[in-house]
Amino acid sequence: MMSIPFFLFAGALAAVFIGKRNIAIGLWALSVVVMLVLFRLHATDQLNIGL
């Protein structure tokens, strides 16, 4: 599951290479969303710091 952003980024770069800008940006946006969801799933411990 954590490899999904990398494969989406690779797909986005392939779209850049063949000149499909909108598809590339769409895939990039999707990968960033997946990345942030994965971050949310992993950032579960409470930080032991005072802010």
């Binding site: 490899s3 990398f6 690779a10 000149g19 990039w28 971050f39």
Partner: protein, 180 residues
């Protein structure tokens, strides 16, 4: 700054990001320092930032491409800052090797900040946006820079599949799940 100079600088930036990714990869492959889940997400954020450079190289510089770079660098920086805060209290441990006295996640805070600073610097030069936005096929060393970056994105995906299989990665990985 002309459009072509901006594109060359973008290609150099992409090469610099690829070198950071290569460094992390070599540490993983040579010294067996497996990336933790947050480390993997920081690599993904770095690739998200580099994507804006790749767009500039292929379609010409645009403010929107630089915007994507800033978003990617912010994402990488947020994950790195979380990891720094996890270990910032002395005695709470650390993860991975050090480089020049700092852990990799601390370096990522610095690198992501430098990317944002560099992007802001590039945005100061308006003339690069004045030229026609013609698509330019990649060639020569710029194509090599693009290909290396694409290869590293794909290689990180394969490495993550080997390390974590199909699910979430363990917090403290001890081996490649698919190779055990």
């Amino acid at each position: 700054m002309t459009q072509i100079l901006a594109m060359r600088l973008n290609a150099l930036g992409l090469l610099a990001i690829s070198i950071v990714l290569l460094f992390a990869f070599s540490d993983q492959l040579i010294y067996g320092d497996l990336p933790c889940p947050l480390c993997i997400l920081q690599r993904a954020g770095l690739i998200a930032a580099g994507f804006g450079l790749a767009l500039n190289m292929r379609f010409g510089p645009r403010p929107s491409h630089y915007g994507l770079m800033i978003i990617g660098a912010l994402a990488a920086g947020i994950v790195a800052r979380r990891q720094v805060l996890l270990h910032i209290v002395p005695g709470t441990g650390s993860y991975g090797d050090m480089f020049f006295g700092l852990h990799f996640y601390t370096w990522m805070v610095i690198v992501s900040t430098l990317i944002i600073l560099g992007t802001a610097g590039m945005l100061l030069f308006d003339r690069q946006f004045a030229d026609d936005h013609e698509e330019r096929p990649l060639a020569g060393w710029m194509l090599a820079s693009f290909a290396l970056f694409g290869f590293l994105a794909l290689a990180n995906g394969v490495s993550t599949v080997l390390e974590c299989a199909g699910g979430l990665c363990p917090d403290n990985p001890t081996g490649y799940l698919l190779l055990q």
